[in-house]
Amino acid sequence: MSTTTKYSLKMGRATREAYGDALLELGRTNRDIVAIDADLAKSTFSWTFGKHFPERFFNLGIQEANMAGIASGLASSGKIPFISSFAAFALCKGFDQLRMGAAYPQLNVKVAGSHGGISIGEDGVSQQSVEDIALACALPGFIVCIPADEHAMRAAVHAAAAHQGPVYLRLGRPKAAIVHDPGVEFAFGRAITVRDGDSLTIVANGLLVAQALMAADRLSDRGINARVLDMHTIKPIDSDALERASRETGAFVVAEEHLHYGGLGSVVAAELARVGPAPIEFVNLGDRYAESGKPEDLMRKYGMTAEAIVTAAERVLRRR
């Protein structure tokens, strides 16, 4: 837990880069780790692993469905396959294969969806994964996680390998501000309180955690003391943290880089309805697709910024 001040966030590496490094670390200690990619290895950074362990690395070419099926077979024969592609392709094109081959038999398949959200930027909507969390959460037994920075990503990759069962990790393309310590205590399903407060709670993940911290700073100038939870794991959701936050702060903003329906907002709202009903405002893409543009321009245009979180916080506090 730390009290951040304005402009104190240091820019770190992209979470996809941290993914590659963590995979390489794992590969050195665990011979069962196998990495597969579908012609995006240099973008997803699975190549970091591949160049060191060519015999355990398979670049299949552009075959996402086949990739998910192969992972199912590898896991059935005792391997720990990490498959990576852009999130949009890994889930949309491999969904039925993940459903039948990973979720249904609860196999040890790890899916890394890179370039999540609209912050992939210029490539536009076809490459922007804004429904991956909804899809992954729909798969029974999957752990679904968006680490916020390089430190959380490293921890998440190790946690994914240690977990027996299917895991989905979303990786990001742009550099991500550092919001955690290098030795961050990380466990799936346990939110990280990155800023304490009692006026309201901002629940965020991925790149929006940094935005939430900046928003909290601005709110504090007005005497509003926001708690910020890095809800990196969407499934299973940290019910205890939400219940406590509801009791102690009584109002929520949920901020994420995803469509409105089926993302973190939906999951948090459903859980709060059960454990501690409270007013919630949402910061997300809404029910639409974005467009090409510079990542920061898109995040601003589509309303996933610190400013948007501040506005949502003011709104929710008026409702309390």
Partner: protein, 284 residues
């Protein structure tokens, strides 16, 4: 360790086993009043050759034995014939076959990995088994193991794009421990494969994807065994056996009759079918 070595049955005995598997499958489907007779019957000799003809090295007492040969039924709707083989092999009691498609049963309507002993993959959403087989074959290669992986595909299933992703991949990776078998019974749910979306020339297609291709009569057990043996001895590429079969084979009114793609026989039809499969007796 496996069961394949001692006293492989003669072709006549295998033919008799195939008939017995057909009887099990039809009885189970009739009891469920639901299931796919046509594609179960067309695969009877293929499944018999694999499980009883000394091909699969496996151990029903240890279904997870890491060195076992794998059999993946990619055409999952044909599972009644596979359940019959697994039961006869001792993976679970033969009586359990009659629980097909019943609630609280391990005899699920399509194969489910982790539920039914001996089932290697959850299939039924067509097109996926060959990819899963590649994963097993890759794992075997990484571990320096010599087990083989067999994948049974439906002909209609070969219209799925994923089959060809997998075919391209297995050929390029030279996975010679992988063997695909196409149950080419020429019908799919809506009618003749040839009329709906032709596969031809399917042998050339697999060959152009760098597979060793063998064609055989899928009801000639000696022919199927010969093809499987050839596949086992072949090095450097995966093998695809195109098994020419008859949908509904073994029951006169089901043969070439696509009405029985996904419809259970009535009690009367079952009686006639059993009489044909077990001349001289209506009881086993």
């Amino acid at each position: 360790m496996g069961l394949s070595s001692p006293a492989t049955p003669s072709v006549e005995q295998l033919e008799s086993i195939a008939r017995r598997l057909r009887v099990h499958a039809l009885r189970a489907i009739a009891a469920a009043n639901s299931g796919h007779p046509g594609g179960s019957l067309s695969a009877a000799e293929i499944v018999t050759a694999l499980y009883f003809g000394g091909i699969l090295d496996h151990d029903p007492r240890h279904p997870e034995w890491p060195d076992r040969d794998r059999f993946i039924l990619s055409k999952g709707h044909g599972v009644p014939i596979l359940y019959a083989a697994l039961a006869e092999r001792g993976y679970f009691p033969v009586d359990e076959l009659m629980m097909l498609r019943q609630v609280n049963s391990r005899m699920q309507g399509h194969p489910v990995q982790g539920v039914t002993p001996g089932i290697e993959a959850s299939t039924g959403s067509l097109g996926q088994g060959l990819s899963i087989g590649i994963g097993h074959a890759m794992a075997g290669r990484l571990d320096g193991k010599h087990f083989r992986t067999y994948v049974l595909l439906g002909d209609g299933e070969c219209q799925e794009g994923q089959v060809w992703e997998a075919a391209m991949c297995a050929g390029n990776y030279e996975l010679d421990t992988l063997c695909a078998i196409v149950d080419y019974n020429r019908f799919q749910l809506d009618g003749p494969v040839e009329d709906i979306q032709s596969l031809e020339p399917i042998g050339d297609k697999f060959a152009s994807f760098k597979w060793n291709v063998i064609e055989t009569d899928g009801h000639d057990i000696a022919g199927v065994l010969h093809a499987l043996g050839e596949a086992r001895d072949h090095r450097g590429t995966p093998t695809c056996i195109i098994a020419h079969t008859v949908k509904g084979k073994g029951v006169s009114f089901m043969e070439h009759n696509n009405e029985f793609h996904g419809k259970a026989p009535t009690a009367e039809q079952l009686e006639v079918a059993l009489a044909q499969l077990q001349p001289g007796s209506n009881e086993e």
